[in-house]
């Protein structure tokens, strides 16, 4: 969605129209091509790869990361960064499970509380960045640590050291994580719906446009009458919401909310966004690109399982993919 959907103007001068160059040059299409190529290679390498069951396994495996990446893309496009996504996920999951299981709250009300906690967490991140003026890296590094501690606190109480997870057994809520509609896992449906909504939002709303403007030149954005802090705050809040939702989904899949849920996941989320063409300098990036990035990581992971390769290579390969994606892009410019 870096360009509005309207077709380019017919050329008034002797210059050639740019539509073709733009379509071919769009980084997302290269990422998509790489993803397709990877899938073709895998289908040849393993008879188990190209099966409905395996493909949906891959999609299910990437869905929580994918949902978080949607938010991270918005934060990055606005020129920010959120390292605390894994902690928000844990807080959302543990709080929801605790309210439901120990406090006996209506399960759906518990989910709403968990999601609101995610929004609040995101707002704290955003306020630290916009009002206090702490750089995003440091602000969210701090809240990453605090959030993880909060998840422990919610699970075990102030004195407790025993409980490291809270069961979550409501069949309705666990359906979000473990359910299927037909052959399609529920988390995959949620991810796709959210991705479509986010893409429409970024490409077709004033706020979405302003997210790009703020990331591309923050001073110019302010002098163009954009309420910069409000825009930044919005991206962090949405990310908080999506991460808490990813937490509820993860806990639903496992029927339990573990305090170490989502530990270290921020690196996967940032990697997916970056592979998909999002710039850490802000102003550039798309939701579909980020999901292609998440899919590439998921397919690589799946390949190691199917082909029985040693797992330590997996981390190396994913690192190499990040460098390759960004490197190719730098050279291509």
């Amino acid at each position: 969605m870096t360009a509005p959907s309207a077709a380019p103007a017919p050329s008034r001068s002797s210059y050639r129209p740019h539509a073709v160059r733009r379509a071919v040059g769009a980084r997302e299409s290269w990422v998509f091509a790489a993803l397709v190529a990877l899938c073709v290679v895998m289908s040849l390498a393993s008879p188990y790869f190209l099966t409905v069951r395996n493909l949906f396994n891959i999609l299910q495996g990437m869905s929580t990361i994918g949902i978080m990446t949607i938010g991270m893309t918005m934060v990055l496009v606005a020129g920010g960064l959120d390292l605390s996504v894994g902690s928000i996920l844990a807080v959302g999951a543990v709080l929801t499970a605790r309210l439901m299981t120990y406090a006996g709250l209506n399960p759906w009300l518990a989910v709403v509380c968990g999601l609101l906690a995610g929004v609040a967490f995101g707002l704290v991140n955003g306020l630290l960045v916009t009002r206090v003026g702490i750089v995003p890296f440091i602000a969210t590094l701090g809240t990453l640590s605090m959030g993880r501690g909060l998840a422990f606190l919610l699970a075990a109480g102030p004195a407790g050291t025993v409980a490291s997870n809270v069961p979550m057994r409501d069949p309705g809520v666990t359906f979000l994580g473990a359910g299927y509609i037909g052959v399609v896992p529920m988390p995959v449906i949620i991810m796709v719906v959210l991705a479509v909504l986010a893409a429409l939002f970024l490409g077709n709303t004033v706020l979405g446009r302003q997210i790009y403007a703020v990331g591309s030149n923050v001073k110019a954005a302010r002098l163009s009458g954009i309420a910069v802090p409000r825009v930044q705050l919005f991206t962090y809040a949405v990310t908080g919401l999506l991460c808490a939702l990813a937490g509820v989904i993860s806990a639903g899949l496992l029927s339990t909310a573990a305090t170490n849920l989502g530990q270290g996941v921020e690196l996967d989320v940032i990697a997916a966004a970056v592979i998909g063409g999002t710039s850490l300098n802000g102003g550039e990036g798309t939701v579909h690109g980020a999901l292609f990035g998440a899919a590439i990581i998921a397919v690589v992971r799946n390949a190691f399982v199917l082909l029985g390769l040693p797992l330590h290579f997996q981390t190396m390969i994913i690192g190499a993919v990040i460098l390759l994606a960004v490197g190719v892009d730098r050279v291509r410019r």
Binding site: A3, P4, H18, V206, R209, S216, L223, A227
Partner: protein
Amino acid sequence: MQSPSLVEVRGVEKRFGGVHALRGVDLDVRAGEIHALVGENGAGKSTIINILAGAVRRDTGTILLDGAPVDFHSPADSQAAGIAVIHQELSTLPTLSIAENIWAGRMPSRLGWVDQRSTFDRSASLLEEVGLDAAPWTRVSELATSQQQLVEIAKALSRRARLLIMDEPTASLTEHEVQRLLALVRRLRDGGVSVLYVSHRLAEVFAIADRISVMRDGCTVRTMDRADADPAGVVALMVGRALAARAAATPHALGAPVVELRGLSRHGAVHDVSFAVRRGEIVGMAGLVGAGRSETARLIFGADRADAGEMLIDGQPVALHSPRDALAAGIGMVPEDRKQLALFIDAPVRWNVSMARLPAISPGGIIRHGRERALAEDFVERLRVRTPDTLTPVRHLSGGNQQKTVLARWLAIRPRLLILDEPTHGVDVGAKAEIYALIRSLAAEGIGILLISSELPEVLDLSDRIVVMRGGRVAATLDRAAADERTVMMHATGTA
């Protein structure tokens, strides 16, 4: 006798994306001559400079150095070949000393240790050569812009540059400094250095050049000896069309005040500033750099907060806390540094034009792409922004067209008051004339204009009234009839 060519450029072309920046440039710079290169913004001067500097690769064509073809892959190649470029934006390192800047990475050394004595002596002799009276260990941040420029020239000489390319070297110099620089350039020429002198200021060009080349639309249209050239003819070659004659005094009537300032102050920058801008009036703000003009503009636009005083819009007191409030009140501002403060450089022209107006034409916050496109195309056409289409990234446009894009953004909100801070900075004769005509027609439509400019003739020519600032205060308010260059400068410098 005609001296041989040092550098010869033949049929060089360059495309950036879909923009055909150079369509065939032929240029030869002879040994020991001052060769002026003139042309409108977007004519391709910067591109050919960057190609000679090794910063940009050409697509086709040849470059000969001493008659032999050369191919610069990097600025280092170009420097090694004896080409030095003094860019408009100086590249000195402010925290280092003059000597460190001159020798950057090539300090005279003995056994791996910097040879302080030799560094000092050689720096001192270079500084003497360029006429800079400062000790070599002085930190560059303590020098004025004109002195930093001399440091860059000394650096070029230390590399034994044979071709010195100077891009708008006098843009930020005072008249006195300009004369000193021109004398230095002549001395360098007499010492055997060739100079490619790129400038918009034709008076300087005619004062200094041995030959003049004119570029237009990515081509060199003519190269001539200075003796065979006259300013009017050069301007005609640059623009390829007749310039509008200088307009007489504003014929239209002035309305009620759009904005009125009463004792506006901001600590350390603006003190007790009062004046008004009426409907259809062009108020010029003159003053030296640092007199508080841009700071006053930022207060009016809500970009900074005032400590004291009040501001009235259409007679009603208002408090603007942000540019957003100013926009809602119908105030637009074209800031002085378009790259830093106005442009979304990688975004399409369309986004850049629509940015401020977008909320108003997007009911419910949903962008109507058709309306946005129509808005952008309308303004691109009205302001004659030269771009293949409105989806071209604004990065690919020339400086003048980028400036028009910023103007379009603010015209799109249909402002009551438009603040223009150095609207023609780094813009060539032709685009300037277009912008002047635009400013006049906007005033005729009833928009109040606050024009900040360091070019006095521009202020005198356009303004109905001139506010002269000095040290953050209003030094004088002059009517058009009472204002001339001498009066304004006396108020600006405090000699009135």
